[in-house]
Symmetry: C2
Subunit: 251 residues, 2 copies
């Protein structure tokens, strides 16, 4: 389904990069953890060369960080980083939705409807998140812009990594989030079905911004009380104002 602009090399380096990516996203490798090449090479049963090459791939994707000394660590996440990631998602996905709206077909509609149905039946928060992201991926892919899609993947991985480190996501309020998020998805779908690019972009922006505000710990949805802010298109009379977002890391 997902397209791959530049066919990936089928070598050890790329394979290890994929494994490492999954490991970082799933939390096997924790933020700030040192990634020594000899240790990883031993772990995967290869020499250091493929490991080094994999590290470069992960660094470009923003999942690990090179220090001035040459050492590599899993990238750390603070509140500020989540805001950055969400802002980047909004930038890319609003354009993605805009593009997808122009080329939208009935088959696409059916795909999304099936996805939404599955989302409603999702048994757990993590299962729901997987379906949620898969739907966003589908729309980004349908935008037809390979470069936009590639950039989006970088952000998507960082977002998934952030999700696993937001404690409050775990199970607790899954039903509320699910219900709220599905409502947003329906609005996005409506704009796409009606082939209204601007509406799709706008609704997508709001959906992403709103859904992230559900994660923190509050149960009643978006609020305006916290410090971090996410810029988003929001009409006010003449002077637009950035809306607040709750702190995703509050325990």
């Amino acid at each position: 389904m997902a397209r791959c602009p530049s066919e990936p090399r089928r070598n050890l380096a790329h394979e290890i990069a994929s494994k490492m990516r999954r490991g970082i996203i799933s939390g096997t490798f924790k933020p700030g953890e040192a990634l020594a090449e000899p240790a990883l090479a031993g772990r995967f049963g290869v020499s250091r060369a493929p490991v080094r090459e994999a590290m470069i791939e992960l660094e470009r994707a923003g999942l690990v960080q090179f220090e001035i000394t040459g050492r590599t660590r899993v990238r750390m996440l603070e509140e500020k980083d989540v805001v950055e990631i969400v802002e980047a998602r909004i930038a890319l996905e609003s354009m993605g939705a805009r593009l997808a709206a122009v080329r939208w077909t009935d088959e696409d509609t059916r795909w999304i409807e099936r996805s939404i149905t599955a989302q409603q039946k999702a048994a757990s928060g993590v299962k729901f998140s997987a379906l949620d992201i898969a739907m966003h991926e589908y729309i980004m892919n349908r935008g037809g812009n390979d470069r936009l899609f590639t950039l989006w993947q970088f952000v998507r991985w960082q977002f998934e990594m952030a999700l696993t480190h937001i404690h409050s996501l775990q199970e607790t309020q899954a039903p509320d989030l699910r219900c709220f998020s599905v409502t947003g998805h329906r609005k996005v779908l409506k704009a796409l079905v009606e082939r209204q690019p601007e509406m799709a972009a706008k609704v997508m922006s709001r959906h992403i911004k709103d859904s992230i505000e559900w994660y923190p710990g509050k149960r009643r949805g978006p609020s305006r009380q916290s410090r971090a802010r996410i810029a988003l298109p929001c009409k006010t009379r003449g002077h637009a104002v950035p809306v607040n977002v709750l702190n995703p890391f509050s325990q």
Copy 2:
């Protein structure tokens, strides 16, 4: 000035990646050209390892392409690619401008004003383009979102590469483009000075879209006659319509 989220390793691989990037952007390495590791290693007087690592960096930035066989080529550019690059620029830079508007200072204003002055005095098309991109970089940087900035750099390099391969840019209509583009820059600056995020995003989108339509060969600016289309926020009554862009590769 430009920030660097993850301090780059100061090793041969990164150095070579930079040189190769400059070479690809400037046209020393032409689109479709094969990049054999032994040849490059000899050229730079190093072994293959750093070259391999540099290739991975460039592939992630979208400047080169890996084939299924493992061989590497400078990425080729068609009309479709320019559309993708510009759409990605619009997505990223509209958000960048939105963010920059919130944090805009008088010092930033002075910087941009100096830049615009220099742009007006630019002696050549290439010189103007350099100043133009530097101004866009400044604004992206002022957005304060490191991830957005990093993603933007990828697109920026691809855009610069595309520019060197658009024949019509060379000198001929430099004055017209310059005049037109500076007008757009002033509108962007106005929105930033007034700290209107939505206005800044909107004006930036339109500026990017319009300026690329100048490159083709026409002298009278944006037209609606060509095949390729760039999606852009543009208000129509209820139903937004993608606007056309001229073919940048028409000789």
